[in-house]
C-alpha cells in the first residue's frame, strides 16, 4: 500500500494571554490509499487540531514536526501549492455542515466552485460532474437539489452535500472531523457506510476523527488513540480493541457501556490542563497501572507487537 500522508513528531502550540497551550505534542501516523485511519480521543485530546494542522488551517499557532504529502513537505509549501493540495488532493469534511456550507449560495454553485478551482472542466462538464457527485453521495433528484440552498437540506443531506464538495476534485485523501457526531444514529449509520464505500470503491484514503469507539470499530482499518495532545497507541483496529497495550485505551474501552457488567469501569478524575505538560505520562494521575517510572519520564512510542505501537510503561503488564 502506498503511503499518502506521513506525519511525524507533530506539535501544535497556541500562544494565549495566559501562556502556552500544548494542544498537540509529538503525534505521528501515516495513511495509505484505500485505508481508513481513525483518530479517537475525548474533548481536548488534540484530535481535531491534529487534522487542521495537517492542512495548515490553524492560524496563529506554532506547528512543528514533519507532515509529508506524497513525498512533499507540507509545512514548507507556498500558498499556491497549498491551495492546490487543499480541496484538490485532500478533501475535508467537518462536523457541522451548516457552518461549513455557505448559507446564501445554492449547493450546485458550491460544488461548481470546487470544480472551477481544481479541475479544467467547462461549464457543461461541471454540471455533469456535479450531478454525478450528488448521485455518488446518495442525494436523489440531483437536478432539483443543485438549485437548493443548505437550509432546504436535512442534517444528513447537508453532510452528504459536504462530502460531495470534498470529493469534487477526486482527492486522494479525505479528512473527516467528527462527520456524524451531530447526526441521529440511523443517519450516522448511512453516512459511515457511504464513507467506507467511497474508500473501498475509489481507493481513497480517509482519516476519520471521532470520540466514539464504536464508530472506529466498525469503520476503520487502523486506529490512533490520543490523550492530552499525545499519541497513546496506534495499530490495526482488531488487535487494539482485543488487546489494548496502553492503559488509557484499555480504560476507555472499559468505560463504554454495553459490555454487560453492572458498574462501568469509570476513569477517575478528569483530563489534565494543557498549559503545563506533564513531565511523565499525561494519563498517569488517572491510571490504574501507575508506577514510579510513569511520573519520572515521558513514555516513548515503541513497537509492542507487529504493527502495534504504544507509549505506555505498562504495555507488557497489559499484554
Amino acid at each position: 500500500m502506498s503511503i499518502l500522508l506521513d506525519v511525524a513528531d507533530l506539535a501544535v502550540v497556541f500562544h494565549t494571554k495566559r501562556g502556552k497551550v500544548h494542544a498537540v505534542d509529538g503525534v505521528g501516523f501515516s495513511v495509505g490509499r484505500g485505508e481508513v485511519l481513525g483518530i479517537v480521543g475525548e474533548s481536548g485530546s488534540g484530535k481535531s487540531v491534529t487534522l487542521r494542522a495537517i492542512t495548515r488551517l490553524l492560524h496563529g499557532a506554532e506547528v512543528t514536526g514533519r507532515v509529508t504529502w506524497q513525498g512533499e513537505d507540507v509545512l514548507a509549501m507556498d500558498a499556491e501549492r497549498l491551495r492546490r493540495m487543499r480541496g484538490g488532493q485532500i478533501g475535508m469534511v467537518f462536523q457541522e455542515p451548516m457552518a461549513a456550507l455557505n448559507p446564501v449560495l445554492p449547493i450546485g454553485l458550491q460544488i461548481t466552485e470546487a470544480l472551477v478551482a481544481h479541475t479544467d472542466l467547462d461549464a457543461a462538464g461541471r454540471q455533469k460532474r456535479a450531478l454525478e457527485l450528488l448521485d455518488l453521495v446518495g442525494i436523489a433528484a440531483g437536478r432539483t437539489r443543485l438549485g437548493q440552498f443548505p437550509h432546504e437540506f436535512s442534517g444528513g443531506m447537508r453532510q452528504r452535500a459536504m462530502i460531495a464538495i470534498a470529493l469534487a476534485a477526486n482527492p486522494a485523501l479525505l479528512l473527516a472531523d467528527e462527520p456524524t457526531t451531530a447526526l441521529d444514529v440511523t443517519i450516522q449509520d448511512q453516512i459511515l457506510r457511504l464513507l467506507r464505500g467511497l474508500v473501498d470503491d475509489l481507493g481513497m484514503g480517509l482519516v476519520l476523527v471521532t470520540h466514539d469507539l464504536g464508530v472506529i470499530a466498525e469503520t476503520c482499518d487502523r486506529v490512533a488513540v490520543m490523550y492530552a495532545g499525545r499519541l497513546c497507541e496506534t495499530g490495526a483496529v482488531a488487535p487494539v480493541f482485543a488487546a489494548p497495550r496502553h492503559a488509557y485505551t484499555k480504560a476507555l474501552l472499559g468505560a463504554m457501556p454495553g459490555q454487560g457488567q453492572d458498574m462501568l469501569v469509570a476513569i477517575p478524575g478528569m483530563a489534565p490542563r494543557l498549559d503545563t505538560p506533564a513531565a511523565g505520562c499525561a494519563f498517569a494521575p488517572r491510571c490504574g497501572y501507575r508506577m514510579p517510572i510513569c511520573d519520572a519520564g515521558r513514555p516513548l512510542l515503541r513497537d509492542v507487537s507487529p504493527g502495534q505501537v504504544s507509549a505506555c510503561h505498562a504495555a507488557e503488564a497489559l499484554a
Binding site: S154, M157, D184, T186, A217, T219, A266
Partner: protein, 326 residues
C-alpha cells in the same frame, strides 16, 4: 408491582414557526406534533428507559411527566392523583416526589448562586429539614454525589461538566424524591466522565430505592441501565418491553433498524447496507398511518392507512406494528 406514575392518552402539540410569506397568505400556523396518544406506566423501583432519535418527543414526554409542560390532551397521574387537578399545596408535594435532571446542568443551575445556596433553597422551599440543619444536610448531599465539602461555597462556572452534573443530581436528590426523570444526563460528557456519572446514578438508585426514568438517544446506555424500555418514533411509543428481551428480539422494524444502526464495539461488523433508508420525517407533517412506513423495509398497503395501536400482538410485550406478528 405498584404503578407509581401513569400517563394516559398524553398529547402535546406546539405551534410551529411561519415565514412572512405564509403569514401574508394567512396560511394556517404549522403544528409540531411532539407527542401523540402516549400511554405509559412507571412502576415503583424500576428504571425505565425512553429512547429515540431527534424529534421523537422523548424530552417533551419527560417534561410532561414532571409537570413542566401541561399536555393538550390526556392525563398524568401520580400515585392515583391527576396532575392537572392538583391544588397548589398538592402540586408542591408532587414536585417534592418527582424531580428532574437535565442534560445541560450549566443551563439549569443559577450561575449567580453558590452550590450551597442552590441546594439550601430546595431544602427550604420544601421544608425538608429545620433551618438550623440545612448546612449539615447540604454537606451530606455533596458527599453523596462525591463533591468536596468546599464545593458549597463555589459557583457553577468553577466546576467541570461532570462535576456540574453531580451538582444537578444533588439538587434533584435534596428533596428526597421518589422518582427522578433524567433527560440525557450524560450526553454532553466524555466517555470516561460519563461512566463516573452513570455509576453514581446506579449506586444512588440502589441506595435510595429510587424510581428512575432515563431518557437518552444512546442505546448502549439504555441496555446498561434500564429494566424496561420504551422506543419512541415521531411522537409515539412504538415498542415497550423488558430491556434485555427487547434488545435480543426487537419486534418493531424501527427498533430493529435502530439497534442495527448502533456502532458495535466489535471491529469489522459493519456491512455495506444501511440499517434503514431515508430521513427522519418532520414532526410538522408526520406521514399518515404508521409514521415509520416510508422508511420501513416490510411495509404493506395497510401501513399507511391507519395508525397501529401499541398492543400485545404475538409476542410478550406491546408493539405498534401491524406486521409484528408475521
Amino acid at each position: 408491582m405498584t404503578i407509581l406514575m401513569e400517563a394516559e392518552g398524553l398529547t402535546k402539540h406546539f405551534p410551529g414557526r411561519r415565514g412572512l410569506i405564509d403569514m401574508a397568505r394567512r396560511a394556517p400556523r404549522p403544528v409540531v406534533q411532539a407527542l401523540t396518544e402516549i400511554n405509559l406506566d412507571i412502576r415503583a423501583g424500576e428504571t425505565l428507559g425512553i429512547v429515540g432519535e431527534s424529534g421523537c418527543g422523548k424530552s417533551t414526554l419527560a417534561r410532561c411527566l414532571v409537570g413542566l409542560h401541561a399536555p393538550d390532551r390526556g392525563t398524568v397521574r401520580f400515585a392515583g392523583a391527576d396532575l392537572a387537578g392538583m391544588t397548589g399545596t398538592e402540586r408542591l408535594g408532587f414536585h417534592r416526589q418527582v424531580q428532574m435532571i437535565f442534560q445541560d446542568p450549566y443551563g439549569s443551575l443559577n450561575p449567580l448562586m453558590s452550590v450551597g445556596d442552590t441546594l439550601a433553597e430546595a431544602l427550604a422551599v420544601h421544608n425538608i429539614v429545620p433551618k438550623a440543619a440545612i448546612a449539615a444536610r447540604v454537606g451530606e448531599l455533596l458527599a453523596m454525589v462525591r463533591l468536596p465539602p468546599d464545593a458549597a461555597g463555589r459557583r457553577p462556572h468553577e466546576f467541570s461538566g461532570g462535576q456540574r452534573q453531580r451538582i444537578g443530581i444533588a439538587r434533584a436528590l435534596a428533596v428526597e424524591p421518589k422518582i427522578i426523570v433524567a433527560d440525557e444526563p450524560v450526553s454532553a460528557l466524555d466517555v470516561s466522565v460519563q461512566a463516573q456519572i452513570v455509576n453514581l446514578l446506579l449506586e444512588l438508585r440502589a441506595r435510595l430505592g429510587l424510581t428512575l426514568v432515563f431518557i437518552t438517544h444512546d442505546l448502549r446506555l439504555v441496555r446498561h441501565m434500564t429494566q424496561r424500555v420504551a422506543v419512541m418514533y415521531l411522537g409515539r411509543v412504538v415498542e415497550l418491553g423488558p430491556t434485555a428481551d427487547l434488545f435480543a428480539t426487537p419486534r418493531h422494524p424501527y427498533t430493529r433498524a435502530l439497534l442495527r444502526a448502533v456502532p458495535q464495539l466489535t471491529p469489522g461488523l459493519r456491512g455495506r447496507d444501511a440499517a434503514v433508508r431515508g430521513e427522519l420525517p418532520s414532526p410538522l407533517a408526520p406521514p399518515p398511518g404508521c409514521a415509520f412506513h416510508p422508511r420501513c423495509g416490510i411495509a404493506e398497503a395497510g401501513c399507511s392507512a391507519s395508525v397501529p395501536a401499541l398492543e400485545v400482538r404475538s409476542g410478550a410485550w406491546p408493539v405498534a406494528c401491524l406486521l409484528a406478528g408475521s
